[in-house]
Symmetry: C3
Subunit: 103 residues, 3 copies
C-alpha cells in the first residue's frame, strides 16, 4: 500500500491520478479528504472551525504487486514533497495478480 | 487490519457491516467515503468534477485478533470482488484481546 | 503509522491534535471522518440513514520515526480508550528524518 499526502491547494492530485491510471495502471487507487491535519509545514488545516479552511488534506492511496508498487513510487516521488509518501506491505486476498505491496 | 473496497452503487456495505457486527463481532469497524478513485474496472470515480459521480468509493476497515481477522476474511471474501480485500498486521495498544491483526 | 479511533461526541480530537503538534511535534497528522462504524461499545454510527447520527467516527493518523512514534503512543494512550489505538510499520520515502514507524 502506498500513501501520498497532498492538500487541496497544491493541485497535485489530478496529474498523480492520471499518471497512476493511464501510465502505470496500478490495480486500484482511492482518494479521501481529511477534515483536519498538519504536516511538515506545521500548519493545522481544519474544517468545521470558524476559520473554515479550504486547504484540507487529501490522502491518495493505491496498491499493486510489490515490484509494480516500487516502480510507481520511483515514478511519482519527484511530484511529492519529501516525507509525504509512505508505504507498507499488505496482503491482497483472492487475487493472483497481487500478493503483497510494496515488499 | 482488513480493508474492503466497495463503491456506493454496489450496495454491499450494509450486509457486510451487519455480518461483521452481528455474526463475527469484530472489535471495531469504520467506513470512509472517498472523493475519487479507480479500481480494476478502470473507471475513475470523482466528486467535485462537472460529471459529479454518485458512485464514489467506500473503504471499509476493521480489525481484530489475527486468528479472528483471518476467520472474518474467509467469511466475507465471497461477498467482495477479487483484489478488493487487503490486510496487514497492526499492533493494538492497551488491549489484551488483540495484539496484532491479521498476522 | 499510528491510528487513533475517536468519535465526534467524545471531544478528544482537539486536545490530541494540540498535543501531537505543539508538544510532540510529529511529522504529520491527518483526521478523516467516517460515514459509518462501530466499536467496542457495539453501537453502529451511520450517516445517511433515517436516524442521522451526529456521532460519526473520527480516525486520527500520524507518523514519525519509530522511536518518536513510540514516545507519542506512550504519551497519548491514557487519553484514548483501550483498543482504540493501533500502529503499524511504514516506510517513509525521500525523508531521512523518518524511515519507518513505529518499528
Amino acid at each position: 500500500m502506498v500513501r501520498v499526502y497532498l492538500t487541496e491547494s497544491d493541485h497535485g492530485l489530478k496529474p498523480l491520478l492520471k499518471c497512476l491510471h493511464d501510465e502505470l495502471g496500478v490495480l486500484g487507487a482511492t482518494v479521501t479528504r481529511g477534515v483536519a491535519g498538519f504536516g511538515a509545514s506545521g500548519v493545522v488545516h481544519s474544517a468545521g472551525l470558524v476559520d473554515l479552511s479550504t486547504d484540507l488534506p487529501l490522502v491518495l492511496e493505491f496498491f499493486d504487486r510489490p515490484d509494480r508498487a516500487r516502480i510507481a513510487i520511483e515514478r511519482i516521488k519527484d511530484f511529492v514533497d519529501p516525507g509525504h509518501l509512505v508505504s507498507w506491505s499488505v496482503r491482497v486476498e483472492g487475487d493472483e495478480r497481487a500478493s503483497a505491496s510494496p515488499g
